[in-house]
Symmetry: C2
């Protein structure tokens, strides 16, 4: 796609067609400027099949705000809509609506609250709350989800990989297997979630990090094809990058050729006054080869060089590698921790795609609409009880126990203040037999999670740096119970409804189910 | 990301750092302008776990060419590289190299052959062959793979869904769950591979298709919250879109409320001289509900209205729905085919992410380098024999049997002409015990697959429209054996080496394995 076309494709019409057909309907019914409240949340943490996440890391907000700041209904957008026709050839959008859209189709009326980027977040908790004129809030649904779903998915994967990798150096290598330009957002999310750096040069500049990388197999192949060998290739690399010499040792035979050749070059470097960085392993039994490579490096006097691992890594593979090293290293007279501590991880495909959980199921649901200056809660019932909406204008609170660990997120009506209550009744969101009672003195802190981001189209929030987001993530991770962070079968973190919200929801469900009329909203 | 930043992030530095550190090394060794030959291919068709692809659909080339046409080493790119430093604070890239890059870092020396978009393609067959100066051909690796891997992945998924869905209307709905801007490439690939339309408005314009969509649950919720019901919401929709009335019937209760209300509105429409389009089902047991909804619609005199299905569809789910309708429809006195033929499919998440095979493993490998005016083949041996490279400058042929079905793709040395041979020996690419002998008269056609796309930086190829790519895809699909197209356990399509290529490869492997020197390329 040419960049001129990209500007259009990813501008204001970067949305689903039905948002626009609905907006026109609202316009003709005089509903388009009615104040509406939509909540964005996801229903399940990423489930990777053999393992799954017990938490997620929120990300993507800043880029959504960047998109909102630039998106406009310009002439080209309006004329494209004017050219749309239905089955009979009649125009889909009429002039009245298009005139309104051209003049008023902005986000100037939108206010937005959100949980900040980098925070640990949980299913069914509103991460973003959008308030504004119905038509524009509706059109915003698709681009909002597009920006937030993916980055949250990837930040979560990065956090898991970092946890399993004991916080060792983690590099994002996924550009070549990424989803076209999804690579940029994926790299950003990886940096927020746990990667230290990315190999992606362009996005590194935008995000303010140095790009990382050394060399590929092709460099060694070139030297071999020209009648020189792996050793000459390594020497050439060391010659140009004497203080940053990290050599890929598996082009020919890792333990017979690659590591011995690397050691020769490392010795030459050291004689010339430079310390080598290390080696990279990209194939084979990475745990076994790490042990053997470490053994050779130690024996040669290079016990501090890094061993960078790559090739289809993810949190499960890294966990397996570390476990295998713990088991096997002693057989070779090696200290497992010494090997594990020198590992670094280059993670490509499975981080940038969150394989095999390739999407977060974030949704954007109408929870209330303003009528006669009051919020009328809205409901969508599902046969799957867990998917029935939590209605109404709400506030979100995180409760910490005596150990300063997060014990539950509480969804409450906007006017409630759980910090002021003596006892809190926490309802399971869909199962009426499950609830918890906590007395206020068991709670060390009650923290509101949503912050004001945008008020009437103006950003009122100091956008944090990625470094700040990382600090937020680390702080939240420390306050998360160990069981929730477990690689497999994590504890289920409690997301609960307040008594008042529970009562409202049940009343609304009964009103619909018990009545032939499909409405009866309960005014609050 | 602001669009000014995006221009940089996704310009010439939309590549991996190591491509640039290697380019600098080639520059200092005087190798940077040596003519090199790289091949792009993938190793495995997408494997979705419970089912897998027996073929893939090639896509992405035009957008790669668009990227190449715009990418430049401008001042900002060069200055960013100049600012990069290593561990000791010394600059990573020196002025000589950066001066060369600023003056010569273009794709003007690159020539490119490729298999056209829309064609059926197979593992280990070069889809793209890049010839040009080593440094720039190396830098191109990452952006080439980024553009081609993803679109081929998604086009393949779309083709599978279309096959299972019997060619019925297929709509791409994935923008909200897509990978940020990966949505645009995904929508394009879906249209090439098998989707008729997308709901994504912006990309529809760029690609020349009308965007599709009707309404969401939120529209019905709005009417309910304001004291009106589902019926009023449907009437409002029919009022504005009388000739394109497709109603989402599962906001309250599909069979008790949604379908009866839709029928009321359809009757009103018909009285006013309009024929309704149909209904959409987005939850529940879609096969069962389709049967019951069809029964209600038939009884009311609307046997021709569409039933659009959505909600976590993919080829496996659609196959299950069709099978279930075939089994259950007769129990309700319904004709299964009549129901199946009126189905249309809105596929979101699992198409745009190719869930759960979220990446294609496409690679870009150096296969030859020019020395003294001759191509010297290059090798990379792998412990996994299947991953050992097929070396040398090659041509690719597709062989068709007497039934006009494709029977094998043949990789041969560039100077070979299989069309002229009396007998063809087709070697399994890695297993020496497996080969096939075919006499020329069993072969109805021998087709060269690679076409010239770019010669010395100039596009020499008439870029086909998406309609033309679709025709190519359909033609190739017709010539593919049924077993290869099977949803599960597909036959393995033969990708073979010619005798001469086999001999060359074996000779090179033996030269490396039988010698302490890790080189000995075989001149051809």
């Amino acid at each position: 796609m040419k960049s001129s076309e990209r500007k259009f494709a990813e501008g204001m019409l970067y949305t689903d067609m039905y948002q626009l057909t609905m907006a026109q309907l609202y316009f003709h019914r005089g509903l388009h400027e009615k104040d509406a409240l939509f909540e964005h949340f996801f229903r399940r943490n990423p489930d990777y099949g053999s393992h799954k996440a017990g938490y997620s890391i929120n990300a993507g907000l800043e880029w959504l705000l960047d998109w909102m700041a630039e998106a406009r209904f310009g002439t080209e957008e309006i004329e494209f809509l004017r050219a749309q026709t239905g089955r009979t050839g009649a125009r889909t959008f009429d002039d009245d609506f298009l005139d309104w859209l051209a003049a008023n189709g902005t986000f100037d009326g939108i206010s937005l609250q959100a949980i900040p980027e980098g925070r640990v977040v949980h299913p069914n908790v509103p991460l973003t709350v959008v308030q504004g004129p119905l038509a524009m809030a509706q059109i915003l649904e698709t681009p909002l989800l597009n920006h937030l779903n993916f980055q949250t998915l990837i930040a979560t994967k990065a956090a898991r990989i970092r946890e399993v990798g004991r916080g060792n150096l983690l590099l994002e290598f996924g550009l070549r297997r990424a989803q076209d330009r999804g690579a940029s957002a994926g790299a950003r999310a990886a940096l927020i979630g746990g990667a230290d750096f990315t190999s992606n040069v362009g996005i590194s500049k935008v995000l303010g990090y140095p790009p990382k990388g050394t060399h590929a197999h092709s460099m060694v192949q070139v030297f071999m094809a020209l009648g020189e060998g792996e050793l000459e290739a390594f020497r050439a690399y060391a010659d140009i990058y004497p203080d940053d010499c990290l050599l890929l040792v598996d082009t020919v035979d890792t333990l017979e050729s690659g590591v011995p050749n690397a050691i020769k070059v490392f010795e030459e470097l050291r004689k010339a006054g430079h310390e080598p960085v290390g080696i990279r392993l990209d194939s084979g039994d990475l745990a076994y080869i790490s042990i053997q490579a470490a053994k050779q490096l130690d024996a040669a006097g290079f016990p501090d060089t890094s061993i960078v691992l790559s090739n289809a890594l993810d949190e499960l593979v890294i966990w397996q590698i570390i476990t295998q090293i713990q088991e096997e290293a002693p057989r070779y007279g090696m200290d497992a921790d010494h090997i594990i501590n020198r590992l670094a991880y280059g993670v490509g495909t499975r981080l940038i795609t969150s394989d095999p959980a390739s999407a977060l199921d974030g949704v954007y649901k109408l929870v209330a609409i303003c009528e006669d200056d009051a919020w009328v809660p809205t409901l969508k019932i599902s046969e799957n009880r867990e998917k029935t909406l939590n209605p109404a204008h709400k506030k979100i609170w995180r409760l910490y126990d005596e150990r300063q660990k997060a014990t539950a997120d509480l969804l409450a009506l906007a006017e409630e203040d759980p910090a002021a209550a003596d006892t809190l009744l926490l309802h399971h969101p869909s199962n009426h037999t499950k609830y918890r009672t906590i007395s206020r003195d068991e709670i060390s802190a009650v923290e509101p999670l949503l912050v004001d981001i945008m008020v009437n189209g103006k950003v009122v929030y100091d956008l944090p740096s990625i470094e700040e987001m990382r600090a937020v993530r680390e702080h939240d991770m420390e306050r998360l119970d160990h069981g929730v962070k477990r690689l497999m079968t994590p504890h289920i973190y409690h997301v609960s409804l307040s008594q008042k919200l529970w009562n409202l929801k049940q009343g609304m469900i009964q009103a619909v189910n018990g009545d032939e009329e499909q409405q009866v909203p309960t005014q609050i």
